[in-house]
């Protein structure tokens, strides 16, 4: 018989501490759908997605019921659409086909309206990027991402410039809906091919034809575990986080292997991320505060986050046969109750968030900026963040939302997992325009002589 305390611990994690499987994401390659006639390509895209993912949502729900563990999202990631768009035609037709597939399969997001342009644009890339504002405005459940830099190739500043404009246009196109288009658009440096989390998920070209990834969550569980140790030193806290991350990840591994078995699809990876939600008790910021910071965003936040991020990975790696994705702590501002409070009170500033991204998973995520922020400043924010990722050989991303018509201090409301939050202050007194307008490429960094 299983130990009673172990059973109670698991039930408590689920019922009181918001433990859940954040997403089961099916990665589907669409490479075999591309053709010279875009209309038939779109039909093949729709057919393949609906065929492969026909039972995805039901399987997720069945597992949820049998195992008693909430599985919040069922999603799909696909081959970057720019690769299909290379054959010509209006990429928006693909966006519409993907939306139809999302409606038919019942998934809440399809990610992969994407382009990989870290070294330059190839056929289809630029057309796809220019179609992003429209694509995100006319669809509900499609996510877009663009990779503009990597450690091996440097940063494509032409793309950075273009993405600054694209982010602004996306906000303008969806200004009537609190600029929600930008919540579905991520700009990456060192994007990963097997990320199950939105909005940055796409199915990399090195992946198998069809694969199932799982993204776990559980900031509340970590916080609750740390609460039981108010006086331990930081080494002890790291141990507690490791142990907790191990348990969370084991659950993800179980659900992932079970889903792959039932769907008859290869199992990909577990992404062992601490992904917060706006719900109380599901916040990464509150973990940092539990460690001893009066509020998230003050001095000491970067160090605490570094400890947390590393311990999560160490604990999780042993628990899964295959760890991948973005694995680490996420710090999306509008999706995290503690971050929202810290941003509202002015304790958490954009500059501190940028520093935090150097030591944790992903980057400047879900940050509302004033509507007056010009495209070149958004490009400069993207360039700074990409530089951190490029030099530190890690994934970084920017998902900022220019709040058209609103100023710092006002709020945006997205609802659901995307949350809500205050518009953060951006330094707009001086302009980076001349730097951004130079465009070109920032060369790849030296990988030795590290200081």
């Amino acid at each position: 018989m299983i130990n009673l305390n172990d059973i109670m611990e698991t039930i408590n994690m689920i019922s009181e501490e918001n433990l859940d499987i954040r997403t089961i994401t099916m990665g589907i390659s669409l490479l075999d759908c591309a053709g010279p006639d875009i209309k038939s390509s779109c039909e093949r895209v729709y057919d393949k997605i609906t065929r492969k993912a026909e039972h995805l949502v039901k399987t997720g729900e069945d597992i949820e019921r049998e195992y008693g563990i909430p599985i919040i999202n069922k999603r799909i990631s696909v081959t970057p659409i720019a690769l299909l768009a290379a054959a010509g035609g209006d990429p928006l037709l693909y966006a519409k086909a993907l939306q139809r597939a999302a409606d038919s399969t019942g998934v809440n997001f399809i990610g992969g309206y994407s382009a990989l342009v870290h070294k330059g644009f190839s056929a289809g890339d630029e057309a796809l990027i220019r179609s992003i504002p429209e694509a995100l405005a006319i669809t509900e459940n499609i996510c877009s991402s663009v990779n503009i830099g990597s450690t091996k190739s440097g940063i494509n500043m032409d793309a950075v410039k273009l993405m600054g404009e694209t982010v602004r246009q996306t906000a303008e196109r969806t200004a009537d809906r609190d600029c929600i288009g930008c919540a579905k658009l991520v700009v990456f440096c060192n994007a990963v091919e097997d990320n199950p989390f939105m909005a940055g998920a796409f199915h990399g070209i090195g992946e198998p034809d069809c694969v199932v990834h799982v993204g776990v969550s559980g900031p509340g569980v970590v916080q609750a575990a740390l609460k039981k140790c108010p006086d331990g030193d930081l080494g002890r806290l790291a141990e507690i986080i490791k142990r907790t991350a191990f348990k969370i990840t084991r659950m993800g591994q179980l659900v992932g292997t079970e889903a792959s078995k039932r769907l008859g699809v290869q199992f990909g990876i577990v992404d062992l991320s601490l992904a917060p939600t706006p719900a109380v008790g599901d916040s990464v910021a509150h973990i940092l505060e539990e460690m001893g910071l009066e509020t998230c965003g003050i001095h000491g936040t970067t160090a605490a986050l570094a400890l947390l991020n590393d311990a999560v990975k160490k604990g999780g790696v042993m628990a899964s046969s295959s760890v991948g994705g973005l694995s680490g702590a996420f710090i999306p501002v509008t999706e995290d109750a503690g971050m929202i409070d810290a941003a509202r009170s002015g304790d958490l500033l954009l500059e501190k968030l940028e520093a935090m991204t150097a030591v944790c998973s992903v980057g400047l995520d879900m940050i509302a900026v004033p509507g007056e922020t010009p495209a070149e400043v958004i490009s400069a924010i993207i360039a700074d963040e990409a530089a951190i990722g490029m030099v530190n050989t890690k994934t970084t991303a920017v998902r900022v939302i220019p709040a058209i018509g609103k100023k710092a201090g006002e709020e945006l409301q997205f609802g659901g997992l995307l949350g809500s939050g205050p518009i953060m202050k951006v330094n707009l007194t001086k302009s980076p325009k001349r730097f951004i307008d130079r465009a070109g490429r920032i060369p790849a960094p030296l990988q030795s002589l590290k200081n």
């Binding site: 130990n3 039930i11 049998e66 008693g68 348990k247």
Partner: protein, 89 residues
Amino acid sequence: MKTVVSVIGMDAVGIISEVSAVCAECNANIVDITQSVLQDMFVMVMLTEIEELNCSFSEFSDKMKALGKDRGLDIRVMHEDIFNSMHRI
């Protein structure tokens, strides 16, 4: 396949009997029962074999949930693997 039926709530007369009655009604074989009072809460855990269920797993689970609702108890039916994988290496 074995499932863990967990019952948490205020102690009262007849809880085990009623949960067992649902098991019998659905032909779920009880393999083990542990019960305890933790922090003033009645906690009972029942390990059941459900290979021979005369209804679907969902119906079994829903019946337990309905009973829980009637009696003001938190009753969950969960596959035992979730506990095995989390707490055993």
